[in-house]
């Protein structure tokens, strides 16, 4: 990244090593300089657009032949479809399949953005809380509204644990209520935190590579972290999606 060239400045300040692990998350305009306004075309725009492109190529162009015996890209698209479809059906039940396109959208966006973020010099959109909070809030609001629309006031019985002794129920209700409202927080911070931490750690190891004696270890560590990040990129998308399914199940069937 651009900031590496500042090593000279830092060296002048007396330190041999320069760490700017958070610089990769800076949002900046793609053309020219200046303030980042709401409609400015930034690196965020670029990498979001690239994720749309990847999804389009994989899911639309990849399946354009509609082959009975699928090509490689078509099998990937079919695998993703089958994976999420089965997840929705298993976790949410048959009546949850109505919401399958929404959940598929979430999964495809997160998994694509995570993997695009693993490209060197890329910008990882899912490492920003602004992005994951929007996703998590969308899920939270949809699920809450859906719960009330489908079940009416009886949706609140989700917080009244009828299997517990009567004396415990008010306390449990408070705990349930708090945990319900913490959902979007954990939902969003889990994704952004995992992605951001991995990327920052890779960057820190890369900073150590400036010392010749340590650089082989540093490069090995980067390789290992990168492998782990590939795992995390998929697993966090999976976790986000399956939690969405679980929350959706609560909205559709609040009576445990």
């Amino acid at each position: 990244m651009a900031t590496e060239t500042h090593g000279a400045d830092a060296a002048a300040e007396g330190t041999g090593l320069v760490f700017h692990p958070m610089d990769q998350f800076i949002v900046k305009p793609l053309f020219g300089h200046g303030e980042v306004g709401m409609l400015t075309i930034t690196n965020v725009t670029l990498w979001l657009a690239l994720s749309i492109l990847v999804i389009f190529v994989l899911m639309v162009l990849g399946t354009s032949r509609r082959a009975i015996v699928p090509s490689r890209s078509q099998s990937i698209a079919e695998l993703a479809y089958g994976f999420i479809h089965k997840m929705v059906e298993d976790v949410t039940g048959k009546d949850g399949l109505k919401y399958f396109p929404y959940i598929m959208t979430l999964f495809m966006f997160i998994v694509t953005a995570n993997f695009l973020g693993l490209l060197p010099k890329s910008f990882t959109t899912t490492s920003h809380f602004a992005v994951t909070v929007v996703l998590a809030l969308a899920v939270f609001l949809t699920v809450t509204i859906l719960g009330f629309v489908k079940n009416g006031v009886s949706f609140l019985s989700m917080f009244w644990v009828s299997s517990a002794p009567l004396a415990l129920r008010p306390i449990l209700a408070i705990i349930e209520l708090v945990s319900y409202f913490v959902r979007p927080v954990s939902h969003s911070i889990r994704l952004a935190g995992n992605v951001m931490a991995g990327h920052a750690v890779i960057k820190v190891f890369a900073g150590f590579a400036a010392i010749a004696a340590v650089s082989p270890v540093s490069i090995l560590a980067i390789t290992a972290m990168y492998g782990l990040e590939i795992l995390v990129a998929f697993i966090q998308a999976y976790v986000f999606t399956i939690l969405t399914c679980v929350y959706l199940k609560d909205a559709l069937h609040p009576h445990h």
């Binding site: 900031t3 900046k28 994720s51 598929m104």
Partner: protein, 183 residues
């Protein structure tokens, strides 16, 4: 990239004069509007791509494949059933042919045996006839030989008696010779 040429001029409260991040860029409020705006557009576009084109297409491909597989399995079952029928028919034909062959072989064997028995009986009869005939001929020859011996003996005896100066009638000599030959 762009920021490094900027030098001291900071673009945002979250970026220092070198273009490095101040604190966590994730917590910078200046950029949230931009990110949320583009994110929502992105999500809507992805949703439209998936729900209008990709997902129905994949669903139809999967359904079609399932149908094809079911049909192929049914066809394979049918073919298997046919091949089993054909094999049974073949086995039946083989068994029939074997039975028939055995019957023919048995019949031929019986015929040959009957012919052989007849021929043997005939040959036996011929042989015994021949033997009887031969025995009769031998007996006749023997008898005639005995008669000749008796005649020769009588003549010889008569000649010997005459030579010794005796006189004997033929009847006596014949009776004596016959008597001797019996003894």
């Amino acid at each position: 990239m762009a920021t490094e040429t900027h030098g001291a001029e900071a673009l945002s409260a979250c970026v220092d004069s070198h273009g490095s991040a101040v604190g966590m860029p994730q917590l910078c409020g200046d950029w949230i509007g931009n990110q949320v705006f583009w994110l929502i557009i992105t999500l809507v576009v992805i949703f439209l791509i998936l729900s209008k084109i990709a997902l129905p297409r994949i669903a139809s491909v999967l359904a079609e494949r399932q149908g094809t597989i079911t049909n192929d399995i049914a066809a394979a079952e049918e073919l298997k059933r046919k091949s089993e029928e054909a094999e049974a028919a073949y086995q039946q034909a083989l068994t029939d042919a074997r039975t028939e062959a055995q019957a023919i072989a048995q019949k031929t064997r019986d015929d040959i045996k009957a012919d052989l028995d007849a021929a043997m009986a005939k040959a036996d009869a011929d042989i015994s006839a021949k033997a009887a005939e031969s025995e009769a001929a031998i007996a006749e020859i023997r008898n005639s030989a005995m008669e000749n011996v008796e005649i020769v003996a009588k003549d010889t005896a008569a000649a010997i008696v005459a030579a010794l100066g005796g006189k004997a009638d033929d009847a006596k000599i014949a009776a004596a010779v016959s008597n001797r030959m019996k003894g």
